[in-house]
Each structure stands twice: as structure tokens, then as C-alpha cells.
């Protein structure tokens, strides 16, 4: 399969250009690639983990209720068990006491799996960043696909984040060097769970995933 020159959410099928494909589609002939079909199917049936941490979880529930109706995007099946879930929405402050549990849940989820960091706390610690028991961003321990800022983000923002994730899933390749993470045999799927130390988590972050940003300082 040749590599398409452009990076639209729908990679073109084979050597047929998008214009030709549209032309055929108008005549009632659908041409698709396995890659496209695979991404289309996966992106429209994301099952999130029913996993609420703090304030943002209430907005996550609100996104599932009638007014916002996350079911329109095929993601209404909240699974209480990580074994059945595709998407972990880290909705709220991750404390140091909770962080090992979050990593463990992530490890229990089968591939392909995705992570949304919902809200300022999950991204960076947010307003509670100074806290001694607050993890300064869940991306210190697990890889995050989509960040949704806000405190808390509105349900619409969560829906927007979900559609962004759908675009990301649809753009994933089946093979080649740019293949999706779950199709690369060497890519890490499980991450080390931190231990409770005497003063802090051990280690305080996963060095393979996270390095502290270099801060610009005035001379």
C-alpha cells in the first residue's frame, strides 16, 4: 500500500485519488481500504471507562445525559471494568495516593487504548498544583492522547475532545513505521506502577515518558 501524500483523516484507498473516489461514490460505488474501514469502525464505538476522579466527573456524567448526549458519537457505553474499555477519561485531580491506581487501571485496559486528560488538574495539577499530595499531570505516568483544558471543561468541550480523538484514530495507519501504537510489537502498553515512598511517590514520574520542562528565565 502506497503512502498517501496528504494527511486527511481518511487516507485514500490504494492509488485512487480522492477526486476519483468521490466520482465513483456518486455513481454508487464505494471504494474503501481496510485501513479506513478499521479506523471508521473503531472511532465510532469508543467505550470509555466509567471512572470519575473529581469535579470533572460530574461534567462527564452531564455529557452522557440527554442534553449533551455523548451517544451521538458512539461513546455512551461507559464500562465499569477496565478490561472492556477503550478510553480512559482522567476526569479530575489525580492525587499521589490515587496515581498508582490510575496507572494500574491503564495497564489493565487492553490495546488499542486511548487517554483523555480532562481538566486542568489532570493536565498539570491545575489550581491544586501547589499541593503536596497532588500529581502535577497524569502524563508523568501514562501517555495522554487528548488534553481538554478547563476547570471543569464544559460537556461540549469533552465532546470536542472526543471528536478530536476520533480524528486521531481515523488517521492511524495499520502498517508501516507510522502504524498505530497497538500494532507496533515493541511499543510499550503497560507502564510501571509507582510505589508509595516515605515522602513522595517512587519514582515521582516515569522518566521514559516525562521530562520536566526547561524554564525560560530572565537573565
Amino acid at each position: 500500500m502506497s503512502e498517501p501524500a496528504h494527511h486527511t483523516p481518511f487516507p485514500s484507498a490504494g492509488n485512487i485519488s480522492d477526486a476519483e473516489r468521490e466520482d465513483l461514490r456518486r455513481h454508487g460505488i464505494l471504494i474503501s481500504s481496510l485501513e479506513e474501514l478499521y479506523g471508521w469502525g473503531r472511532s465510532n464505538s469508543i467505550w470509555p471507562l466509567q471512572f470519575g476522579l473529581a469535579c470533572c466527573a460530574i461534567e462527564m456524567i452531564a455529557a452522557a445525559t440527554a442534553r449533551f448526549d455523548i451517544a451521538r458519537f458512539g461513546a455512551e457505553i461507559f464500562r465499569p471494568s477496565p478490561r472492556q474499555a477503550d478510553l480512559m477519561i482522567v476526569s479530575g485531580t489525580v492525587t499521589k495516593k490515587m496515581a498508582p491506581q490510575v496507572v494500574r487501571l491503564w495497564n489493565q485496559m487492553p490495546e488499542p487504548k486511548y487517554c483523555i486528560a480532562m481538566g486542568a488538574c489532570a493536565i498539570s495539577g491545575g489550581p491544586f498544583k501547589q499541593g503536596y499530595n497532588v500529581l502535577k499531570g497524569i502524563d508523568r505516568f501514562i501517555p495522554v492522547d487528548i488534553y481538554i483544558p478547563g476547570c471543569p471543561p464544559r460537556p461540549e468541550a469533552l465532546l470536542h475532545g472526543l471528536t478530536q480523538l476520533q480524528d486521531k484514530i481515523r488517521a492511524e495507519r495499520i502498517s508501516g513505521p507510522q502504524a498505530a501504537r497497538h500494532l507496533q510489537p515493541d511499543a510499550a502498553s503497560e507502564f510501571p506502577v509507582p510505589d508509595f515512598g516515605a515522602h513522595d511517590l517512587q519514582p515521582p514520574s516515569n522518566p521514559n515518558l516525562f521530562t520536566a520542562p526547561v524554564l525560560p528565565r530572565k537573565a
Binding site: 466509567q50 471512572f51 470519575g52 476522579l53 473529581a54 469535579c55 466527573a57 460530574i58 461534567e59 456524567i61 452531564a62 452522557a64 445525559t65 440527554a66 442534553r67 465499569p80 477496565p82 479530575g92 485531580t93 492525587t95 495516593k97 490515587m98 491506581q101 487501571l105 489550581p127 491544586f128 501547589q130 499541593g131 503536596y132 499530595n133 497532588v134 476547570c151 471543569p152 464544559r154
Partner: protein
């Protein structure tokens, strides 16, 4: 325990990730078959160091953090903090602001209780349906909060010496319409839920709490009143302008889960009455005391404990000032945490499925339990 009918005891760790623990609460339950013989709650999974952060933040700077304590009821948490600071500094509050505070607090009570009932029925296995009704009403009230304060959940509306913005006549008219329509929602809700046979079988006589133990354990709010103890700070302390209002405090008889459910329904009906009176009597005038100082606020040295009747129970703030811009000690008295003191006693002898329902009827929010 080890005879032919009893096997080994089984220890189950429920949570911190569990669909029915209302967040990241954890219970370590010891089971004999399905029966609970021991239950130890484990806290701290949402310990966000609110009190420590507040010690290095200005008095005003802590106000947004109070929103995130009990994130379903930010308006009444705001008020509790403002009440404590006003007590600390002797700050007066204009009449119109007092009425607005009561309006916001009672609207919050409606949000909290209707959602709680929805969550309680989720725990009973109704799979989301009552919650959809509750969230429909919640969205209407949240729209009001948003148009007034700028945020759906984190309103940050109260200030020391009044309220931040004055609602427009249109806002008041919309709020009034909502309150007039609320009893219809309650009737619909009750038709669906109150007489339900499964609900009666699962809640009556389950999780009894006797009044003497409840008082000694510091249980407050609807959970206490379901056991028949008439202690409502709106009546006892008469903070704000509550003494001007005509309302009743419903009391339960049995102290079981069913009574705790009914407390919420009856309190919502009383809240509607309070709201109607508040809209009727709302005076004109400023919403902030012109002498109130927000920035560079330094109360003189001393301490104060301010408390009010939050939707979950007695919510108190204990502040010690040393005369500096930051409080020396900032303490939240969390009703959710203290109401859990007797969880084990309430659950003993019941099945594990009942423990979930009993926990749901206590009404906790983890942001407040762990702070």
C-alpha cells in the same frame, strides 16, 4: 465461623475505582458469604491539600477553591466560607445580598438533592433513568447559575460583604418560572420512584441509624433528621435571613435508607417554598456592602467558626487570623466525611449490595470528604 455452613471470610476492597462509590472512595469490606461482618472506609484518594494551599493564599483567593470542595453545591460552600470570614472581620451584608444568598443556597439544595436521588437509584440498579430526569432539572438551574456567575459549576459568586453581581429582572423572572415549575418535576419524580416496589423492598429497614448514636457521632443534615433529631442550622442558628422565612423541617421516624430518601424529597418541597418567599420579598438595594474590602483584606488577629446548613449537613469553616493577609489556619468541617463515621455500624449484617445503597443515601462528595 468455621463450621460446615460457614466458609472462610472474604475480604473485598471496593474502590477507589468502583462504579458505586461516588468517586474515589474505598471500603475494605469483610464478607461472610454475602453478609458484611466488617467495613473499613479508606480515605485520601482525593486529598487535594485545600487547607494547606489556603494557608498561603489570600482570603479572597481561597474563594474559588471552596467551589471545588463540594462541587455539586458551590453556591452554598461559597456562602459558608463568606459567613466565616464575615464573622471573623465583623463584616455586614446588605439585605438584598442576604436574600440572593438564600435563593442561591436553596437552588443548590434542589440540584444536590435531585441529583443525589438519581445517584441513589443508580445504586439500586435503575441504570441511569432517574438520573436523566435529575440532570434535566440540574441543567436548567445550572443555566441560571452560568448566566449569573459565568460558570456552570464553579460559581465563585459570594464575596465577604455580599454577592458579586446583581441578577437582572430577566434572570429573576426566569428563576421564578423555574421554581414555579419545580413541584411538577417533583411530582413526576415521585410518581416514578417513591412507591416503587423494589425500592421499598431494598430501602425500608435497611441501614438503620438510631438517634443517640447519630448525635454522638456528629452526623448532621438530612441523615440526622431522618433519624428523628430536629437539628437544622437554618432554624437553630438562624444565620442569614432564614428566621424571616416560613418553612418546616421534615423529620424521619425510622432512620433507614427509605427515610433518608424521603428527607431529600420533602426538603426539596420546603426549598421551593423558601424560594417562592424569597422571590416575593426580595428587596431593592446594593448587593455589596460599600465598606467591604476584598483586595488587601487583613482581618485583625482572632478566630471564628462559621457554619451553615449545607445540603449534606453542617458545613463549617474555622479560621484563625494572625493579622496577615493569609489565614494562619483554615479548616473545613466537612459534613460528608463526618457523616461516614457510622457507615460500618449501619452496614453490619446487611448484604454487600445494601452497603452500596446505604452509602448512596448518606450523600458524600469526595472533594469534601478528602479536601
Amino acid at each position: 465461623m468455621h463450621d460446615e455452613f460457614h466458609g472462610d471470610l472474604l475480604e473485598v476492597s471496593m474502590g477507589p475505582q468502583h462504579p458505586s462509590t461516588h468517586g474515589v472512595f474505598r471500603m475494605v469490606v469483610t464478607l461472610d458469604g454475602e453478609q458484611i461482618v466488617k467495613l473499613k472506609p479508606v480515605f485520601g484518594y482525593l486529598h487535594r491539600n485545600h487547607e494547606k494551599i489556603a494557608e498561603s493564599t489570600s482570603y479572597l483567593g481561597s474563594m474559588p477553591y471552596t467551589d471545588r470542595l463540594d462541587y455539586l453545591c458551590s453556591m452554598s460552600t461559597n456562602w459558608a466560607y463568606a459567613l466565616a470570614v464575615e464573622k471573623l472581620s465583623g463584616q455586614a451584608v446588605p439585605d438584598r445580598a442576604q436574600y440572593l444568598r438564600i435563593i442561591m443556597a436553596e437552588l443548590t439544595r434542589l440540584v444536590n438533592h435531585s441529583c443525589l436521588v438519581g445517584f441513589l437509584f443508580n445504586d439500586l440498579g435503575t441504570s441511569f433513568t432517574p438520573l436523566l430526569y435529575a440532570f434535566r432539572e440540574r441543567e436548567k438551574i445550572l443555566d441560571l447559575f452560568e448566566s449569573l456567575s459565568g460558570s456552570r459549576m464553579m460559581c465563585n459568586y459570594q464575596r465577604f460583604g455580599g454577592c458579586r453581581v446583581d441578577p437582572s429582572p430577566e434572570w429573576l423572572a426566569a428563576a421564578r418560572t423555574l421554581v414555579e415549575g419545580f413541584p411538577r418535576f417533583l411530582d413526576e419524580y415521585e410518581t416514578m420512584l417513591t412507591g416503587n416496589e423494589i425500592m421499598l423492598a431494598r430501602t425500608q429497614g435497611v441501614g438503620r441509624l438510631d438517634p443517640a448514636h447519630a448525635v454522638n457521632a456528629g452526623i448532621t443534615g438530612p441523615v440526622l433528621r431522618a433519624s428523628g433529631v430536629g437539628y437544622d442550622l437554618r432554624k437553630v442558628d438562624g444565620y442569614g435571613f432564614y428566621p424571616r422565612f416560613d418553612f418546616r423541617v421534615p423529620l424521619g421516624e425510622h432512620g433507614d435508607t427509605y427515610d433518608r430518601y424521603m428527607m431529600r424529597i420533602l426538603e426539596m418541597r420546603e426549598s421551593v417554598k423558601i424560594l417562592q418567599q424569597a422571590f416575593r420579598d426580595l428587596p431593592a438595594g446594593p448587593v455589596m456592602d460599600p465598606k467591604a474590602k476584598l483586595r488587601g483584606f487583613r482581618p485583625k488577629a482572632g478566630e471564628a467558626y462559621g457554619r451553615l446548613e449545607g445540603p449534606k449537613g453542617e458545613l463549617g469553616f474555622y479560621l484563625i487570623s494572625d493579622g496577615s493577609p493569609n489565614p494562619w489556619r483554615y479548616r473545613v468541617r466537612p459534613p460528608s466525611l463526618i457523616n461516614l463515621t457510622l457507615l460500618e455500624e449501619m452496614c453490619l449484617g446487611h448484604t454487600i449490595a445494601d452497603a452500596v445503597v446505604i452509602l448512596g443515601s448518606i450523600d458524600i462528595v469526595l472533594g469534601e470528604v478528602d479536601r
